[in-house]
Symmetry: D2
Subunit: 313 residues, 4 copies
C-alpha cells in the first residue's frame, strides 16, 4: 500500500514517548490509521485489486463478533504497537487488515476513520443502537467526540456537548443541539433542564475517572454510558445507587471490529458525512503534529505522507 | 390477601432502623415480599379468583419494559417504603401488584421470590441471557447470591462461588462447581486457573465498592457484571483499561419487572427448583429475625405471619 | 377529549363494511387514531392536565414489553373494534390510553401517528434497529410505507421504493434514494444492481402473500423482513432456501406499544419530521374519505372532526 | 487429521445422489462432520498441537458475526460440497476450520456436533436465547431434533415433541416433557391444552412447507420459529394474521459459525451431555448407512473411518 495520509491518536504519542508498556522491536514504526492505494498484491490476494483505495484496521485481527484475548491478558494486538505501524511511505499488510475507503473522501479524511470514527460508531451504533429522538451527551471536541456528534446527528438524535467555551460556536456549527461550558458548575442541572429531567440516553465517556460518576448522574433511565477514554486517569469511580436505580449500563469500548468499520464506511459513503480535520502536517513535521495533539485539537490531526494526496475518484 | 409468610431483605432492616432516606407515614408497615391467599376481591378485579395463592411485586408499578423515573429522580416506589408494606396478617393491594405463586412451593418458600430471586433472575436471565457452558461468578451466600447460583445451574452454566470458608460445603451441596475462600489472596489467580484464563462470563456483584474493580479483572472478554449490592459502600471504583480492552459491560440492577417475575415463577414451577431458607421466625420474633440478617445467613429469612402455613395445593 | 382530527386506516373501512369478524355493540363508533385536546379529567387522573394536546393509542392496553393474548387467541383489543372508536366530537378515555401530541404538529398531522406511523417505527426502529448506511426496501405509498420512508431517512438509511410509476416523482421528492416501477419485471435485478448484490437490510412487507417470497429473494444476508400488510391475501408463501442460507428474519408486526409511540413522538418533535397527508375531509364526508382509501392514496386520509383544527401551540 | 469418525446428514445423501446443484470436481469426497486427531501440522499453524482431538466446521469460513454471501448468491461454501469432504482416513485442512473436540466424547459422538448439534444450538441458544421455563416444540427425532431436545433441557426449558408413535417412549426417556403422535389430528389443541393456551415460545421447524403455518398457529405471543429443514418441500406457506397479531418471528437457520460451535463444545463438556447415535457403520458399509438415513433414524448415523475409535482421554 502506498500510504497517502496517516491520522494520529493520543495513543501514538504515548507509544512514541514511552512505549506505553509494549514490547517494541527497533527500528519501530508508529502509526495505526492509514489511507492509501494498493500498488502491488500477493498471488493469493483476492479481496482487492491494484489501484484500490483502502484504509487500515486498528485491531486488524478482529473481524466480527467477539474479540480475542483472555480475562488475564486482553488482546491488544494493534498496528503501531504489537504489529509494525503505518507512518511510512509504503507498507505491506495482509489483505484482511484493510477495508475499502469511501470514494468521496480524500486520503486525509479517509485516514481519520480506522480508530476515532470506529470507536464512536462502535459505541453509539453497534453497541448502543442510537436512534432518532434519543439524547446523546458528548464530552470534549477530540476525534472520537466529534465523530460521536456526527454519527448521533446522522441517526436523528439530539446532541449535547460539554466543552471549552471557546469551542462552543464550532460545535454548534457542526450540528450539536446544545453546547455547555464544561468548566461551569451546574452543567448537570442544565442537562436536566434541557431534557425535562429525562437525562441522556447515551453518553460518550471520553474522560473517565471521576467523570464517570457524573455520567451516571446524567444518564436517563435505561441509559448507556460508553467508557472510552482515560484522560482523567485510569481509575474509574461512580456512585452505586443511581446506576442501580436507573437501570444504567456502562459498556467498555476499545475500538471495534472490521465488519463495523465496513458498516461505518457505507454510512459515510451514503450520507456524505465529512470528517473534521483540525490540522494537517507534512511528514517531516511529525513532531509539531504530536505537540498539537496535546493542545486540544478540534477534530483529527493528519500527516500527509506523500507530496500529493490523491484526489477523490 | 391473607398473608402466609413474608421474607426479609437487608433493605427492610435499613428502613426499620433509619427510614433509609424515605418519607414514611406513621403508623408504617414494613416488608415487601409476601406469599398468601386471596380472601376477597374488588368488583372490577379479574386477574385472580378468591382462593388463589399469590406473591407480591417489589416495585409494583413496573409491569414490563422500561422502568419509571427520571435522570434526576429515579423511581423507587416499592412496597414497604413509598407504599405501605406487607408485614401484616391481611393486606389490601391492587390486583396488578400480584403474581400467581408457584403451586409446588409453600408460602414460606414462595415469599422468597419477589425481591431476591427476581433480582438474580433479572440480572442473569433477563439482562444477561446466561446459557449452558457459561461461567458465573457469585459473591457470598445471601439471598440473591444463592438464587443466582440456582438459576445459573438451571441454565447449564458453571458456577464459582467466593464465600466464607465455613459455607463452602453447603455451596457445593447446592450445586456450585467450585467454591473459593473469599478471605484468601489469590482468588483471582484461582479463577483464572479454573477457567483456563477465560474468566467469568457473568458476575453477580453483590458487594460493590472496590470489589467492582476485582470483578472487572475477573471478567471474560465480553463478560457482564451485574451491579446489585452495596455492602462495601455506595462508591464504586474500577480500573479503566480491562473494562475497555475486554469489552466488558457493567449493568446496574434494581430488582426487575412483573413480567420477569412471572417468567421466573414459570421456571421455578417447571423445574422444581426449591428456594433456600436460612431460618424461619414467628411474627412475634421479628426482632430476632432482623438480627439474623446481620449475621450472614445462608439463604432467606422468613417470617410466618399466621399460625399455619398453607400447604402446597 | 375534544377530538380535533381522526386519521383513517384500511382497517376502519373493513370494520365499517363487514365488522371484520369482530363482535360489535351497536350503536358502534369506528375510528382509532385521534388528535385532540383534553377538556375534562377524572379526579384520579395525573398524567395530563386540562388543555393538553394528546393522541390516542391504537392497542391501548399495550404499554411496553410483551403484548397480551395467547397462542390460541391473540389479543386484538383496539379502539374502534373491541373498544369503542374515536370518530366523534368528544370521547372519554382512560388517561393511560393517551400520549402527548408533538407540539409542532396540528391535529390533522398528529392524528396520523397512532397506527400507521407507529407500525413503521415499531418495525424499523424498535424491532429492526435501522441505522445509517442500511438499505431499506419499501412497497407502495400508503400510510405505513411513507412513514417507513421518512423514519429510514431520519436514521441515515438509503431507501428504495417499489411503487406505481405515476408516484415515483413524489416519492423521490420525499427523500427516497431510488424508486422502481412495481409493475415492471426485473425489479429484483434492479435492486441487486443498485446494491452491488448486497440486497435490502430491511423490508417493509406491506403487501404479503406471494410478495413475501420476493422479499426473501431481495433480502441481504442477515436481512429483516417486517410482515405488516395483507393486501395480497392472508396466505403467505416463500421459498425456503434463501431464508435459511441468508440468515433472514421475518418479523410479524401488529402496530406497537405506547412506549414506542412516546419514543416516536419525541423523534418527530426533535427532528421536525412532517407526516404526509393525502387529503382531508369534513366529518360529513366520511363516505368520500373511505372511497379515497381504496383509490391508493399517497399518505394519510384525515377527517376534521371540528370546524377549526387547533393550531400548533 | 487422522479421521476417527464421520457422521452423516441428509445433505450428504443428496450430494451423493444428485450433486445437489453443486459444481463438483471428480474424484469427489463427500462428508462434512469429522472427529479425529491431528497427526501433522504446517509450520505456521499455532491453534493446535499434534495429538489434539478435533472436529470440523461445516461452513468453515464462517468464524463469527455475519455470514458471507450476497442477496443474489448466498454463500454455501461447505465441506463435502464447495470444498472437498472428510469421508476419508486422512484429511488436510486449514487450522481455522477445526475446533477442539470435547474430551469426554469419543470420536463417534464428537463427530455428531459440527452440523446437527450446531444447527440446533444456533437456533435455540445463539439466536433464540432459550431459558428456563420456556416451552420448546420439536418436530421429529432426527439429528437436529434430538439435539434441540437436549439443549432445551440443558437450559431448563419444557420440551414437547411431535413424532411417530413408536418413538414416543424413547423421546420421553431422553427427557422430553411430553410427546405427541404427529399423525393424529388435534395435536395443536393438545399443545394449547398442555400450555394453558400460552403456546410454544420456540419451535424448531425441521419440516417446513405447510407445517410452517401450523407452527405459526402453535407459537406463543412473541414466539420464535426457527426454519431449518425442508422435508415437506422447498416452498413455505403460513397464514398472515397470527404471525402479525402474535408478534411472531421466523428465523432462517443454516447451521452456524465457529464461535457458536466452540460455545456448544464448552456446554457439552461442562454438562456431560451425550449425543444420541442411532447406529454406526464401518467405512465399507457406507451404502447401508445412507439407506438408514431414509428410514427415519433416532439420532445420528456415524461411519467409523478407522478400525479403532480413539477412547476418551
Amino acid at each position: 500500500v502506498k500510504v497517502g495520509a496517516v491520522s494520529l491518536n493520543h495513543r501514538d504519542k504515548m507509544v512514541i514517548d514511552s512505549g506505553r508498556g509494549l514490547t517494541l522491536d527497533f527500528p519501530f514504526t508508529p502509526g495505526t490509521d492509514l489511507a492509501g492505494r494498493i500498488v502491488a498484491m500477493g498471488d493469493d490476494a483476492e479481496r482487492f485489486a491494484v489501484g484500490d483505495r483502502v484504509i487500515s484496521c486498528f485491531t486488524p485481527e478482529w473481524i466480527d463478533g467477539a474479540r480475542a484475548g483472555t480475562a488475564r491478558t486482553p488482546a491488544y494486538r494493534t498496528l503501531g504497537g504489537y504489529f509494525a505501524g503505518v507512518l511510512a511511505e509504503y507498507v505491506v499488510l495482509p489483505e484482511d487488515w484493510l477495508v475499502t475507503a469511501p470514494a468521496a473522501l480524500d486520503d486525509a479524511r479517509a485516514s481519520t476513520l480506522p480508530c476515532a470514527a470506529l470507536t464512536a460508531w462502535f459505541a453509539l451504533v453497534e453497541r448502543g443502537g442510537v436512534r432518532a429522538g434519543d439524547t446523546v451527551l458528548i464530552r470534549g471536541t477530540g476525534g472520537v467526540a466529534l465523530f460521536g456528534l456526527q454519527f448521533a446527528k446522522l441517526h436523528g438524535a439530539r446532541v449535547l456537548v460539554s466543552c471549552s467555551p471557546e469551542k462552543i460556536d464550532r460545535v454548534l456549527a457542526l450540528g450539536a443541539d446544545h453546547a455547555m461550558d464544561r468548566h461551569r458548575t451546574g452543567w448537570l442541572e442544565a442537562l436536566y433542564a434541557l431534557t425535562d429531567d429525562r437525562g441522556a440516553d447515551h453518553i460518550l465517556e471520553t474522560v473517565g475517572g471521576t467523570f464517570l460518576g457524573q455520567s451516571v448522574q446524567a444518564a436517563a433511565i435505561g441509559g448507556r454510558i460508553y467508557q472510552i477514554g482515560a484522560l482523567d486517569g485510569f481509575d474509574l469511580s461512580s456512585p452505586a445507587m443511581p446506576l442501580m436505580m436507573k437501570d444504567v449500563t456502562i459498556q467498555g469500548i476499545g475500538t471495534g471490529h472490521r465488519r463495523a468499520l465496513e458498516d461505518l464506511v457505507r454510512a459515510v459513503a451514503r450520507t456524505g458525512m465529512t470528517p473534521v480535520i483540525d490540522s494537517r502536517f507534512a511528514f517531516a513535521d511529525l513532531s509539531d503534529a504530536l505537540d498539537r495533539l496535546d493542545a486540544g485539537p478540534f477534530g483529527k490531526i493528519v500527516i500527509d505522507t506523500c507530496d500529493i494526496t490523491l484526489p477523490p475518484t
